[in-house]
């Protein structure tokens, strides 16, 4: 198979291919989807079931457990995590990570089916379990609307219009609004007054439901036409409520509702959640784009639409962008494309410098077409331009030129020796195509761990493997086809007896080094071994990490107050905190979320479950580098806001979001034992000098007041439990007696007892209970014997059906989670566990472990393929053995690089390390092939060895230099920084290794003795 001959003779075909790549690539570059992070489905859904009035324990036992048992049978299940709270059961269902996005809807359907089968056997009073399967959706565009001078009703109207209009935009999939101030109609009654009138709540409820439901009219036949008879709606039905009259039982007098009750529209007393932006109440809009659209375009359209709408609304309404993925993506992708261009340019320039402008142009053009071709294929295969795929391109950049360099240089040398272009090309391509292909596949296989990993991290990084695969394969194709073709035009045929160009100082130096190394080959070997071993030994000095922090100028302040806190108190404290943050220098805006977290506006942020005692500040600073300073200052300042609560700072971290960096989980049955274990663990964390933000997820127990229901007296008085419960509701938080539909909004109508200030326990004690059967009011204390004060669990967490308490903590600001974890691990493991209890570590340790395990599962196969190819290439044993002996030495450069740059060895460095293997093996193969060829061509072994090494010096060094230069721009990207350092440091050393160690090993293995010539 003579590919080069084919491409030179049928050059039109190659040109066609090149043009397709260029034109298609440019077209694709414009059209290809852009995203901030790779599409990554959070394979989780949430099941929410309400069980009003039940305690957390009752919810757990009667509801959560039932649902968990029903779901347990699903084979797709990876994990079940449940939280039972008073009145609510939340279950998070995680599906095994190897199910892909397309399969998920089916799994959720099955889940729903199982739940609906179950629903008949759930306790009475529970709602139907609701499956929230878009729980993991990422909203890229996040806005806050503030309109301080408008009424809640008006703001609701504005937000309704904005939402409706945004949904009409092409490419917008979903718009979620939040923070709309809920309103209710409150009717305050004086209990004694209505008691005197002999009226009861059932009477009022009946009255409201009779008058507020939608009414149907009738129709008449008039002269063959149908005429509808309508019942005119009252213009303002809130007024109408007050005018409803109720007939007093026992006589024919009637009284208007407004005469016995004060009726008003009020914001709900206990809101679910509240949003604020820069100190004003706000409504947030979270917009998510459809799956296959360009987020940048959608973002532009949405922003434009918002501006249009604002022009239509009265002045005083502001819409601010909390998070604009479109902008970030545009900036990031533009920056990356710039990086890419810089890389292409740098590599081309480097080639021109080292190989002369002709080779520079030949390889540069090949590189450009390869890159464009890669973009084209990515577009065709629906891969997006995002952080990972762009990074992959830059990583691949250095390796892309390797094939072309080898071919181009060979042709140039050959042609310089007077051979025709066709002959030179044919010779070189035939000679190198298989080694190059093998080396390329080995390079690709080094990344296969990621491609084959079915962990979350694997999915996150899949495009890295895909891009490497596409671009490297393309680079080989073009190296054997296009490069010879270009070489034909650019290289000149030299005279037959070309004067041997004087060896450069560089290669002279190398020659000296090599000969010395070969001369003292055992000493060289010893040195290499010692260096390698010491590198392994000092590996422990490198900081361990997982994913690095993000560079967005945003950080989070989580506020946790005791679990029993009322949302109104949380709100008051959040307002105080908000002011402190806003007054702080360097802060440009603050969004506050009370009672719940923000929407999942980026993949890097995992929202907190609704909790009244929780608040979140999303702080935007003017300069991302100031975050540590600002965060530390704020942590100190915010302490004064609430002595019972804590403010925790958190920076965004790349990779799928994780709840906490340090976690320990205890599982078992008795809450008291679990709490005790948790306390012991907490004490260990507390005693550590730098670990902070220690907390557990069962949180504080809450107060519970139980008015005892006296069956006997209640029976005598004809009071039912319903009467009793309604009386309690009425005397405390309010009793829902009806609802009013007004426009698209449903107002609940709440009856409340008229008291001076906040209702308290005495108001309850002194209230009266309506006896439905006797139609009389009975004193509350007649029905209730006593009021019991108790504490109860408010949050019961279960993990895979076992009660589990999780103790979370964060490492100090300037240490990695790994360092902190290693200090406390042993102590926590030493805690004595009662039988039936178990301990597991979570946090970064677990996710890093899982990721590495998943990667590890894919690695052996990848390495096997790499090994097989290396054996196949040579068809012998000793050469592959040399290669695989060299591979472990790659660590030297990595350790040196990371230690010098003071960077942690994280997941990305691990990837870099793997790709380094590929590059190292590739270089080694190229060199070994040449040595074998030279020796087979009849040169004396030693001479062949040295000459081959010297002749490979340029391509190998060039390939290394280009790769190093290629990844250099990535140093400034926080996500890729450690990877780029790993590759740069590792490759620099690996190149040396290849050039020295391979010949040394070769001479040892093939018993080539050094003799002075």
């Amino acid at each position: 198979m003579d590919i080069a001959r084919y491409s030179l003779t049928k050059s039109v075909n190659i040109w066609l291919l090149a043009i397709v790549c260029i034109v298609g690539g440019l077209l694709a570059l414009d059209k290809i989807g852009r995203l901030e992070d790779p599409v990554f489905t959070i394979k989780e859904s949430m099941i929410m079931t309400y069980y009003p009035g039940a305690s957390a324990e009752k919810v757990e036992k009667e509801l959560t457990e039932q649902i968990e048992i029903a779901l347990q049978k699903m084979p797709q299940l990876k994990r079940l995590k449940s939280t039972s709270k008073p009145g609510v059961s939340q279950i998070r269902v995680e599906v095994l990570s190897h199910y892909n996005t397309e399969e998920l809807p089916q799994i959720w359907d099955e889940l729903r089916k199982r739940l609906s089968d179950l629903s008949s056997s759930l306790p009475i009073g529970t709602t139907t379990p609701a499956v929230i399967d878009d729980f993991g959706d990422v909203y890229g565009l996040y806005y806050a609307l503030t309109a301080p001078d408008f009424s809640p009703y008006q703001i609701r109207e504005f937000s309704r219009i904005i939402r409706r209009e945004l949904l009409t935009i092409d490419g917008v999939a979903k718009v979620d609004t939040n923070g709309i101030l809920e309103e209710e109609i409150v009717a305050t009654f004086d209990t004694y007054q209505i008691a005197g009138l002999g009226l009861s709540f059932p009477d009022v409820t009946q009255l409201l439901s009779n008058n507020l439901q939608p009414f149907t009219g009738g129709r008449l036949l008039v002269d063959g036409k149908q005429v509808r008879i309508s019942l005119a709606d009252s213009s303002d039905r809130i007024d109408e409520i007050g005018n409803l009259s109720i007939v007093l039982p026992g006589n024919n007098a009637s009284i208007k509702l407004k005469d016995i009750a004060e009726i008003s529209i009020q914001p709900v007393e206990i809101p679910q959640s509240l949003m604020r932006f820069n100190g004003e109440d706000a409504i947030t809009f979270a917009v998510s784009a459809k799956f296959d659209v360009n987020i940048v375009d959608v973002g532009k359209k949405v922003n434009q639409k918002v501006d249009e709408l604002l022009a239509r609304f009265p002045a005083g309404i502001e819409v601010d962008r909390l998070y604009d993925q479109a902008g970030i993506v545009e900036e990031a992708v533009d920056g990356f494309i710039l990086n890419l261009e810089v890389s292409v340019l740098v590599v081309t320039l480097a080639l021109c410098l080292f190989m002369g402008w002709r080779s520079g142009v030949v390889v540069g053009v090949t590189l450009l077409i390869t890159v464009l071709g890669t973009v084209l294929i990515m577009w065709l295969y629906d891969l997006r331009l995002q952080r990972i795929s762009l990074g992959a391109m830059v990583i691949a950049m250095g390796m892309l030129v390797d094939n072309a360099i080898v071919v181009a240089e060979g042709i140039m040398m050959r042609m310089a020796k007077g051979k025709s272009a066709l002959e030179a090309a044919s010779f070189i391509v035939k000679r190198t195509q298989w080694p190059l292909l093998g080396a390329t596949i080995i390079g690709i296989m080094a990344f296969s761990g990621i491609g084959l990993s079915n962990d979350a991290t694997g999915e996150f990084l899949f495009s890295l493997f895909a891009v490497v695969l596409i671009s490297l394969m393309l680079s080989w194709v073009f190296a054997v086809t296009l490069t010879p073709l270009l070489g034909k035009y650019f290289y000149k045929v030299g005279e037959s007896e070309q004067k041997e160009s004087a060896p450069s100082g560089f290669s002279k130096g190398y020659l000296v080094l090599l000969t010395q190394a070969l001369r003292f080959r055992w000493i060289s070997l010893a040195i290499l071994v010692v260096i390698t071993i010491s590198a392994y030994a000092s590996f422990g000095l490198i900081k361990q990490g997982f994913f690095p922090p993000s560079n967005a100028p945003v950080f989070f302040v989580n506020y946790w107050s005791p679990q029993g806190r009322d949302i109104r108190t949380t709100e008051a404290n959040m307002k105080l905190g908000e002011q402190i943050i806003l007054d702080h220098a360097g802060v440009s805006s603050v969004a506050s979320f009370v009672g719940r977290g923000a929407e999942r506006f980026t993949l890097l942020y995992g929202p907190e479950m609704p909790n009244e005692s929780y608040g979140l500040f999303l702080v935007r600073v003017k300069d991302a580098t100031e975050i540590p300073v600002v965060a530390r200052a704020l942590a100190e300042k915010l302490k004064v806001v609430d002595t019972d609560g804590r403010f925790y700072m958190k920076v965004m971290q790349f990779g799928p979001s994780a709840p906490a960096k340090l976690q320990a989980r205890f599982s078992g049955s008795d809450p008291e034992v679990l709490r005790d274990l948790a306390q012991q663990t907490k004490n260990i964390y507390f005693d550590d000098p730098s670990i902070g933000n220690v907390r557990d997820d069962w949180r504080e127990k809450g107060f519970i007041i139980t008015p005892q229901y006296d069956e006997i007296t209640a029976g005598l008085a004809g009071v039912s439990r319903t009467d009793f419960s309604e009386a309690i509701q009425f005397a405390t938080s309010g009793l829902r007696i009806g609802q009013l539909q007004f426009g698209d909004y449903l107002y609940p109508i709440i009856a409340k007892s008229r008291v001076k200030t906040e209702p308290d326990i005495d108001d309850l004690k002194n209230s009266v209970v309506w006896s439905t059967s006797q139609r009389r009011y009975i004193p509350f204390q007649q029905i209730s014997s006593d009021i019991k004060y108790e504490s109860e669990e408010l949050l019961i967490q279960r993990r895979d059906r076992v009660r589990t308490i999780t103790i979370s903590a964060e490492p100090g600001l300037n240490e990695t989670a790994g360092a902190a974890f290693s200090r406390v691990r042993q102590q926590i493991e030493d805690i004595e566990l009662p039988t039936g209890y178990s301990l597991e570590f979570g946090g970064e340790f677990e996710s890093a472990n899982d990721a590495q395990k998943a990667l590890g599962a894919g690695l052996p196969l990848g390495f096997l393929v790499m090994f097989l190819i290396s054996v196949l290439l040579f068809g012998r044993v000793r050469q592959p053995l040399i290669i695989w002996l060299i591979v472990p030495m790659a660590i030297v450069g990595v350790v040196a690089g990371l230690l010098t740059a003071d960077m942690p060895f994280g997941f990305m460095s691990l990837l870099g390390f793997l790709s380094l293997f590929g590059m190292l093996i590739k270089n080694a193969i190229v060199l070994l092939e040449e040595i074998d060829l030279q020796i087979n061509e009849g040169k004396p072994p030693l001479q062949g060895l040295i000459e081959a090494s010297v002749s490979r010096l340029r391509p190998v060094a060039l390939a290394a230099i280009t790769t190093i230069l290629g990844v250099m721009p990535l140093i400034f990207d926080p996500f890729f920084a450690d990877m780029s350092v790993t590759i740069m440091g590792g490759l620099a050393f690996a190149t040396l290794l290849t050039l020295i160690a391979v010949p040394v090993f070769y001479s040892i293995f093939f018993k080539i003795r050094y003799e002075k010539t």
């Binding site: 004086d190 004694y192 007054q193 019972d644 809450g702 005495d762 009266v768 004193p779 669990e793």
Partner: protein, 346 residues
Amino acid sequence: MKQWIYLSLLILVQSCSEEAAVVSETSPTVVQTFTAVTQQNNQAYEFPAVVSAVKNVELRFEVAGRLIATNLVKGKKVEKGQVLAQIDPAPYERKVKDREVRHQVATNDLKRIQALYKKGGVSHSDFDNAKSLFETTLLDLNNAKQDLSYTKISAPFDGFVSDRYVENNSYVQVGSSIATIQDRSTLYFSFDVPERIMTLNSGNKDVEASARVIGLEDQVYKIHYVEHEAIPDPITQTYNVTFAIDNAQETALIPGSRAMVTIQTNLNRGQLIAIPVSAVIGDAESGFAVWEFNNSVVNKQAVQVAGIVDNYALISSGLTAGEKVVSAGTTYMREGLAVREYKAEK
């Protein structure tokens, strides 16, 4: 921030002396404390009561006739003796006249017969007849006079016209009530007391009671015990209890209005300890605990909560007055934690 400076200092110090670090590691946490106080466990009850007048007198005519004048404006204050209604007196005046004439005739007859009898001119029986006729006619006359006086109704006591049942010029039958007059000098507050409270306080008369009228909550009146029913209501099983207020004229109390009666029993049921609710944390077995401040360390102490008043929890056992508890940041306390008491700056 401070901690970090502290820590970096620590590292510097550590290089000089190893012990220094150990000492400063246990720098105590500053906590806010609260000294437990005693609280009398006096039960206070509140009941909705109906205000009623002590005396309600219905006015009725004992004679029939047509009303010619009434002075019965509902709600009007009347004084004792004030004429409130009058029936046309003419028939009764005529009747008096008639009876007077008959009596005069009888008197004259008696005088004449008596003179004759003394002279022995008439029999003893004739004298007796004349004498009884005289007495009968006198009786008739007095009856007629009384009837005449009954044509006017005057107020029996100082009070208020609470209701009127007939209008002027209407014909009134004997015995039909025409109006009700209330005596408001004393007002009753009656309310239903649950049997539980009744039993608990049986025999206890040492109570302080006050009443507020709905709509005028700021005005508090002192009231006193009057009586209570001995048989409970068959349905509600509650006992009707009456309290009263004297000299109620000057007050805004109106019989029939609704009032809130607050009764404070002075029966001492032992002392409770009051501490802020924020100091109480949930503990094992649905119980509660506090972090007791014991000279620079905190210890967990189980307590029993008997009630909550305002923002204070009433502790029935586990704590004595004068002991200090941590009142803020309780979540971050742990057994034996070294603490220092927070003293507010002056």
